[in-house]
Amino acid sequence: MIFSLLMMSLALAEPPKMVALPAGNYRPLYMNKNSPQTFVGAFSIDITPVTNAQYLKFVTNNPRWQPQQIPSIFAEAQYLQHWQQNQTAKQPSQGQLNSPVVNVSWFAAQAYCQSLNKSLPTVAQWERVASASATQPNGSLEKSYNQRILQWYSRPSSKQLPEVGTNPANYWGAQDLHGLIWEWTEDFNSALVSGESRGDSDINQKLFCAAGAQGAADPSDYAAFMRFGFRSSLQAKYTLPNLGFRCAKSKE
């Protein structure tokens, strides 16, 4: 019995499969409709967020990222706090194995990706893959797309996160970009959103202005506003109960 559980854990611990996106354009939220789009080179990205089982394998192989080892400048005290302490180490429960790993810092997430010769996706990569609906690359053309995302954002987090891979795949074949967790990006703090979302018009007209944000490509894209707002509240050592990650790999 123990043996079979172990075998299952090992199978679950295989890193997520990846999908490839061709080079293409993406228009950041804060650009208006006439501004040039941002070019995003070809890249691959994990189909699903990294799970507790996958992350457990990483910390088992890399003890310095275990909760009792990690330096406090690399992660807050809440690092992996949802794992249970047994005699020797902290581990996820059986029910958590296939749920996304959360309570991980940016440093830890980036270290996981690097251990697999990958990295965290950039904001541009993440937003490009996440802007697809089930049927087309630009989901914002579908009316229900944003409202569905917003509905997830507006619900409080559930204590036990669902398993990865239960949301339908999008146009590119990736899953769970919306509706499960927030995700770290490599350059999460590069968007100049201050805590004062109305004052930023003084800094840069292309960023957030008063609540309406007339400068944005799609002022109705509140979902994107919330993502950018959320990212800008983070520091790299933060560990939050609804923030996980997936890895990406740029094409050389």
């Binding site: 805590g195 109705s220 520091q235 939050l240």
Partner: protein, 467 residues
């Protein structure tokens, strides 16, 4: 409601001493913990005659709550209530503000207090990720009643979800003592479903942009401050209301039905106006109103943009107990029939499609609606009428012996003496402007209720009576 000290903030006073060069805490003011109260309660008046350092711990939460009976909504809140906890400080106080964002939050939050003199009202300084605490300090320079709210992008959505409350900066000389103080904040809400549609309703962004509110409420829900939750006072007492308007969109025409505000602190500032019927409270603004209650009764607090009050929830109650004073208000002293138009229903639009009853059961069902709209006020819900004034329809020999007499009474009206169940009545019933089918349905409804004889009347029979 409990505001728990946060473990991140406990050592901050210590830090303040160590690094006092950087903080307002440099002064040697006495430190006190602010008393925060959930609506509609207000913290006690401040009776010290000197400034203090006041520590405020407030927490942001995202949680499901009731917006109306059977309807739930995910509120974002300060201190677990909508509006958030009431904060009371004194002009000249130095405030250490600790904003904690609960770990279960999806969103970062912050706070913009309109009482703050400084960039963003503290918004940027208090921008806080879930599971973290931010601290900033400010000095309360201007007395008045101020809104506070969350200002995190997208601002509109954070406010629309209930992130607002009031902070009172008492003037140095204090406010005159009153018997009762209460705290109300109006807010508009935008849900996927229409008003009253049951279930957990998500925020509707399109309606919010169109300013097409489904709910306009005091203190976060329909009926938050009515019936057993009403505000209370006794005859002769003076009531002071701290009224805010969180918006996000609508301005409030605040009015108390049956009262005149003796004093209004216009827009929550220092200007006092007197003898005011309705005071305008802008979104993101506030007002203090005071009035003495001279007579008992239930006084209704409304947004006098009146459809909001009776169709969207902007209604609260103040129940005043005590002895009547007939020199001020007598209640009804006489009632007489007045019949200028002779019709009960006025029609504005006939373009809707008419639904016709297909059988007796449908006749009874449709007839019930006609009854409730036209007959019930006099003949009562149980059909028993009012002794001496309105004859009974229940077990009525007059009606059961010849239902067409009932039809005639509706078509032509009825006046003069009649005898029903051996009791004499001598009143006036106006003719009702109902069509043949409605009359047939309502008589059929009556005949089949309250132990009456049963049977039915058709529209054709009614038409015949008209001739």
């Amino acid at each position: 409601m409990k505001i728990q000290p946060n473990k991140h903030t406990l050592w901050l006073p210590l830090l303040a001493i160590l690094f006092s060069g950087n903080l307002l805490a440099a002064s040697n003011l006495k430190t006190e913990q602010a008393i925060l109260t959930p609506p509609p309660m207000v913290p006690p008046a401040i009776n010290r005659d000197h400034s203090a350092k006041v520590v405020i711990n407030l927490e942001t939460r995202e949680q499901v709550g009731r917006i109306a009976d059977g309807v739930e909504y995910v509120f974002w809140s300060f201190g677990e209530t909508v509006p958030g906890s009431f904060i009371r400080v004194r002009e000249g106080d130095e405030i250490e503000f600790n904003l904690s964002n609960h770990p279960s939050s999806k969103m970062p939050h912050n706070i913009d207090l309109h009482a703050v003199t400084g960039p963003g009202g503290g918004a940027e300084s208090s921008f806080t990720a879930p599971g973290h605490t931010s601290t900033f300090n400010f000095k309360a320079l201007n007395p008045g009643l101020y809104i506070y709210h969350c200002a995190t992008a997208p601002v509109g959505m954070h406010i629309a979800n209930g992130m607002y409350g009031l902070i009172l900066v008492e003037p140095k000389e204090g406010l005159a003592p009153v018997d009762r103080e209460y705290y109300l904040v109006q807010g508009d809400f935008y849900t996927k479903g229409e008003f009253g549609e049951a279930g957990l309703q998500p925020f509707d962004m399109a309606k919010a942009i169109d300013e097409d509110a489904d709910y306009v409420v005091f203190n976060g829900s329909v009926g938050s401050t009515t019936d057993e939750n009403s505000l209370i006072a006794k005859v002769g007492e003076t009531v002071r209301l701290y009224i805010g308007n969180g918006g996000p969109n609508l301005v409030s025409s605040f009015h108390v039905i049956g009262e005149i505000f003796d004093t209004v602190y216009v827009e929550g500032g220092s200007l006092k106006n007197h003898n005011v019927q309705t005071t305008l409270i802008p979104a993101g603004g506030a007002a203090i109103v005071e009035f003495k209650v001279e007579v008992p009764g239930t006084f209704i607090l409304v947004d006098h943009s009146i459809f909001r009050a009776f169709n969207k929830g902007a209604l609260a109650m103040l129940k005043v107990e005590g002895p009547d004073d007939h020199s001020i208000f007598t209640g009804k002293t006489a009632e007489n029939v007045y019949l200028p138009e002779g019709s009960a229903i006025q029609s504005l639009d006939n373009t809707f499609t008419k639904i016709t009853a297909n059988n007796k059961n449908e006749q009874i069902r449709f007839g019930q609606r006609i009854y409730e709209a036209n007959c019930m006020a006099c003949h009562q819900a149980n059909g028993e009428g009012i002794p001496g004034a309105f004859p009974p329809l229940a077990k009525s020999d007059y009606l059961n012996n010849n239902p067409l007499l009932g039809v005639n009474a509706i078509i032509k009206g009825l006046s003069g003496p009649i005898k029903v169940n051996n009791v004499n009545y001598n009143g006036v019933m106006p003719a009702m402007n109902l069509n043949d089918e409605d009359i047939a349905n309502v008589i059929t409804f009556v005949l089949n209720n309250w132990d009456n004889a049963g049977g039915k009347i058709s529209a054709e029979q009614v038409a015949k009576q008209r001739k």
